[in-house]
Symmetry: C2
Subunit: 366 residues, 2 copies
């Protein structure tokens, strides 16, 4: 039996999601430009029909750079001007991780929905405060778990699973290697445990989210977790390695590993993989690169089941429906893009994993 | 930067190991044909210069099939005839897993070295008995951890690590999916926990061995372990899923997952992978297939480091030096192929993992 390179139209029409809002229907503003993810968040929203109004950051250089790429935005004079703006419905933000919750609470207090870069919290206390505030205000605290929400391979995998291609999901394994790059390119908070939250909290939150989503789990237990610093003794608060096993309430078994060891010779920042094992087949996503292969670009999906081995390049095939759904959810007070409970549970598991690792299993050379 | 498909001669000359014994220098016999691995074990030894003398199994059909593929062998009348044969130096065996130790003890008592299929034990008591016997007799209890010892990708990866290509090894992650095939093709012992030992003990032993070897660890702790039966309720003693996290004495972090869910459409029995993460790069082995790719065959090695992404097909590049070394070790009482301590430690970790999983974390649908 040979393998098939297929175009994926069995699972995806090839039509990307259209605009989710009419002109003037949905305006948002950007506050907090500490992480470059803000650009992708803003792009995703704009492509789905949202209109960008204000931008605010205390650093005028960051604002100037942002305006070059988003010239329609207006630089606000202060945070209050944005939060109190009557037209702005949603605050998109990528502040320093430890500040993300406080900003979200202020936004919700001003009646805004909040859309923050991951990780959304650096402590369980922040999560609790946000849970209380969302309940009290009815506002949303949504999270940009980009490794699933903003990759077409993930959207395609979701559809393959829904179509029954791999039977019932047994296990999800995720690998989230990242390139650290020149240390001087990183802001001070990157190296500060209190500010970035630890590796399982930070880049691990993508993985916890994907486990819950692809396994169809609402809740899970942290079965084991480790963090370590193997290669960066000059930055003792950096975790350059972490891994975690999760056991879902429905019984599935998750595992993920994250690290900051992407070598300089890789053609992109990280060889992220997700392996989804089902009773009738499995899916592998090579999200950002097909390492040492001629296949160009990203979003490589491999499906193996009773019908054979199939390769699908998901680039351009599905678009990312999260953004349009988020806009409609904000307008209609629904939860089609991502439930609040799910966004918080992924964060909770990554915080609990970080805590468990720091209390019990910090790894390093002996 | 593009990737390079290279021929691997930087790490391997392309010369395969030659014969390790002169004609008549090293004779062995085969006892216990319950697992098909016996054929690969015998082939490996014969290719390295060993001469097959006797074969014995209580099932005459198994003996007849064996003789068709190894016509030079002589069918023994009973086990004793083999164990007491003065010319036979080594007993190669693939008995039912729970019987492997008892056979090994008998062989060592008769002054023979023993080379068994994995898993070498199904209980910690058996392991202890074998430790005592090897110490008392000075004989060897070697194990056919084929997923490393008999794959050229593993030999090449070993050489890449030794050449410093990925810096210091931080973590080893292994995936050992297997095809279960038609249930009627499996012997009764396959489904019986007492006889096969559990999935972490059985196919997990390959993985524990590879972790220790590639991480350069002599010992490790079982940090977490799970086993489950997700898809085979009609065989309640089968574990069709297992995973395990290991933390090495030197500080490295290991993880492996094994399962019996290889779908019918895969072109081979399992998409086994080993991911070796180092401080300066990483290696991925796709040992048995490059899923949904044109690259034919097996032993696909991917090396990524500061120099770029490199693909090497290790097939035919290195051979498998284990067998010749084992022959010389038996003749010269050395430990160049694999130390006794290593062979036992890999087994011990897989037994401890199985125990930990059964005591604490049996997973299934809830």
């Amino acid at each position: 039996m040979a393998y098939l390179s297929v175009d994926g139209r069995r699972w995806a029409s090839g039509e990307k999601p259209g605009r989710a809002a009419e002109p003037g229907e949905f305006k948002f503003s950007a506050v907090g430009l500490d992480h470059g993810h803000i650009y992708s968040m803003v792009n995703g929203l704009k492509e789905a029909g949202a209109e960008l109004k204000y931008v605010w950051d205390p650093d005028p250089d960051k604002v100037a750079a942002f305006l070059r790429r988003n010239p329609e935005a207006k630089a606000a004079r202060c945070e209050e001007e944005v939060l109190e703006d009557g037209e702005t419905r949603l605050i998109a933000a990528a502040a320093v991780p430890s500040e993300r919750c406080a900003l979200g609470l202020r936004a919700m207090d001003c009646g805004k929905d909040y859309f923050t870069d991951k990780a959304p919290f650096t402590s369980l206390g922040q999560l609790e405060a946000a849970r209380i505030k969302t309940a009290a205000t009815g506002r949303k605290y949504m999270v940009y778990y980009s490794e699933r929400l903003h990759t077409e391979s993930s959207v395609l995998a979701e559809r393959m699973i829904a179509a029954g291609e791999i039977g019932r999901v047994v296990s999800v394994s995720g690998f989230g290697p990242h390139r650290i790059g020149p240390p001087e390119s990183r802001p001070a908070w990157f190296w500060d445990r209190e500010k970035y939250g630890g590796i399982l909290c930070d880049i691990g939150s993508h993985q916890a989210e994907q486990y819950l989503f692809f396994a169809g789990e609402e809740d899970a237990e942290v079965t084991a977790a480790r963090v370590g610093n193997y290669g960066h003794p000059e930055y003792p608060e950096l975790n350059d390695f972490g891994d975690c096993a999760l056991t879902g309430k429905r019984g599935t078994a998750g595992y993920f590993r994250v690290d900051w060891f992407t070598p300089g010779g890789l053609r992109t920042w990280g060889d992220g993989r997700t392996l989804i094992l089902g009773t009738e087949g499995y899916i592998e996503m090579r999200k950002f690169i097909d390492v040492a292969a001629e296949r160009p670009g990203h979003d490589h999906v491999f499906l193996v089941n009773g019908a054979g081995e199939q390769y699908v390049n998901a680039s351009g095939l599905t678009g990312c429906p999260f953004f349009g759904r988020l806009i409609r959810d904000c307008l209609e007070r629904t939860e089609t893009a991502m439930t609040q409970a799910h966004a918080f549970k992924a964060a909770e598991l990554s915080l609990l994993a970080q805590k468990k690792a720091e209390e019990g299993r910090t790894v390093s050379w002996t």
